[in-house]
Symmetry: C2
Subunit: 378 residues, 2 copies
């Protein structure tokens, strides 16, 4: 769960259901991961002890392999028998990859007979997806009998950020009602434009109109609370982007003056279609810093439990810029304390900061759970 903390406002700006980056967590909190996997998988699939872990199809991304290695280790430590089953078309026999630590991971080709998956003689009880399926649902996974988490329909080929944030908004409103708070303090406003083609400049009318409407609404909130900052809007594809095609504007005019490079960048989302739904999200300043560099917290969850997180720290970016983009090299800085132990007796903001991150993470997880429930009902 990507979080932005403006001081006057803290909220999630993205909830990834197929996260990498587990290797960035503080190893001190791996026991929390182990315990959380035990609790979560017991909910999903009582009695399951064989897990097929389906990773991304990367073949050379060592950061990703390190993250996968942590998930693999933690699942084993939680008592599960785990195999890594790859969706790569070119994989015919098991392939061993050696991590920087010297540890090895074996990638098996997945076999399917009728509605049952296997790798060799290993028959999984459940499938844990760590592949965002942005190229669509692979036929080998469709209609299998195994319980799959997250469900196939939550892959980026069918999932929309705007649906997540519609649920999140509802959750934020319910939560804020309980503690008598304006939900805006934890909820980013947003708009959607259905059909935008940045290269052909189609859908620009909607973009400009919605951007202005959103900037106006943010300004009204800033006025209401006496916030002296310039509202801005983050524009990105409504499907998964891997941080690509993310644009920040604070005036509508900036949209009409995009150069060709900027237009091409915005059209470059994962998946190939040039026309896509676009989400316009209230920009949230990050006033978190680490050694004078801009930082934004990322919270990791397993099931309903917060298991840790890290700061994305970036020395060359501004407080209104997206820190999660290719080329935008950030330094991960693991949380040095868990999100579980607030100081209940005083409001020391430093001590309770991590707890607050965890609360936002849990609200986002609840929104994701409702997303899953809705998709699964259909």
């Amino acid at each position: 769960v990507d979080i932005r903390n403006a001081g006057f406002k803290i909220t999630t700006v993205d909830t990834n259901l197929f996260p990498a980056g587990f290797n960035n967590l503080n190893p001190d909190f791996w026991p929390l991961c182990v315990q959380a996997f035990q609790a979560a998988l017991e909910h999903v699939c009582p009695g399951a002890d064989r897990v097929l872990l389906v990773p991304e199809n990367h073949t050379r991304n060592s950061f990703y392999f390190e993250s996968l290695g942590v998930i693999y280790d933690v699942l084993r430590q939680a008592g599960f028998d785990v195999r890594i089953g790859s969706l790569r078309d070119d994989l015919r026999t098991p392939e061993t990859i050696t991590l920087a630590s010297g540890k090895t991971l074996v990638f098996y080709p997945i076999q399917r007979v009728a509605d049952t998956l296997s790798v060799g003689d290993f028959k999984p009880c459940m499938v844990l997806l760590n592949n965002d399926l942005s190229d669509g649902i692979p036929s080998i996974l469709e209609g299998v009998k195994h319980k799959m988490m997250p469900p196939l329909t939550l892959g980026w080929s069918t999932r929309l950020k705007s649906v997540h944030f519609t649920h999140y908004q509802q959750v934020a409103e319910e939560f804020s009602h309980v503690i008598a708070m304006d939900p805006w303090f934890i909820n980013p406003l947003f708009r959607v434009c259905d059909e935008v083609d940045f290269t052909k400049r189609e859908g620009e009318g909607c973009l400009m109109q919605q951007t202005q409407s959103l900037l106006d609404e943010i300004q009204r909130k800033y006025d209401q609370y006496g916030i002296n900052h310039k509202p801005f809007v983050v524009i990105k594809a409504d499907s998964g982007t891997y941080g690509r095609g993310v644009m920040t504007v604070d005036t509508v005019e900036q949209l009409t003056h995009l150069n060709r490079a900027q237009r091409n960048e915005m059209a470059k989302t994962k998946g190939s279609q040039a026309i896509h739904r676009v989400i316009l999200q209230e920009g949230v300043y990050t006033f978190e810093t680490w050694d004078d560099a801009v930082a934004e917290p990322v919270v990791y969850m397993v099931g309903s439990a917060v298991v840790g997180g890290f700061y994305r720290v970036h020395e060359q970016r501004g407080i209104n810029e997206n820190l999660n983009a290719p080329g935008a090299k950030f330094k991960p800085l693991a949380f040095d304390r868990s999100c579980h132990t607030p100081d209940c007796d005083n409001s020391d903001s430093h001590i309770n900061r991590f707890y607050t991150y965890g609360v936002i993470g849990r609200l986002a997880a609840l929104a994701a759970a409702r997303e899953i429930a809705e998709k699964t009902r259909k």
Copy 2:
């Protein structure tokens, strides 16, 4: 869960359902406690957010208050609204106790109307018992509507160690079957004598006969595995003892030569009756040491999760002696790592030692769960 590790054998020797000593845990693992309480209470009582914590009636035991303070803090951090409701007859108004840390705990007299407990205007969803009820079930708790954990019938006035160890033996056998191991490696043999009065020397025949039978059975196991140690037997009341009235013998003759002081000590169990059931348990050497002092591990669990533990370290006791007895002052030494992160790829016994403690703890918790299920069915 009290554990003894003889190297050739590791097992629980006592499972306390109303533990003190939470203050001896490593604070680094409190997040595990928080997460475990969330998971456990969700199982017991979904949606519960108000917990009445019922402690022992101690009025001056600062160690106990520190432990209670940890349970209280952890429950609050887990998101529960908690009150401490005392069973003390003499408590008419709330009483505040200040801990060494400066933190305060408020003890409220419990009120009851019909089948509902309350303290002031606080109406709990569930009751968390941390009082071992060795003087019997207090009428104020009997027949109330609240979910109570552990159930009243598991208090020491009605609970028998031998029933726990009958369940534990079954669990140990099932577990050992899965990994093709002799269950004796994790299970202490035991016998029971129904009616023993140490002061009047009644029931001595049963004691001597069963002690001999048990020593013989242990010797056969020692012979089978080539263990060159002297078998010994631990004799204790089958109900809770708080470590009182625990005796170690390695010959039957020792039983006939008890002096008056020893007999009185054995008759001194919590609760007043002189005649009681006695459990004779296979003595398990502890070959764990810490700085040359004898040590035995104690594992703490919340629900099904292991949340930490400590070593009882004792400089004046032998490897076949009970370290948990009044006067037997031990030094608690918190585990410096969790029991969750075994090294799955090699068998480094130091690294995997804590994991093994946790496994024994979880088997004992499973036995306790069956005890609870059996008692609750009745």
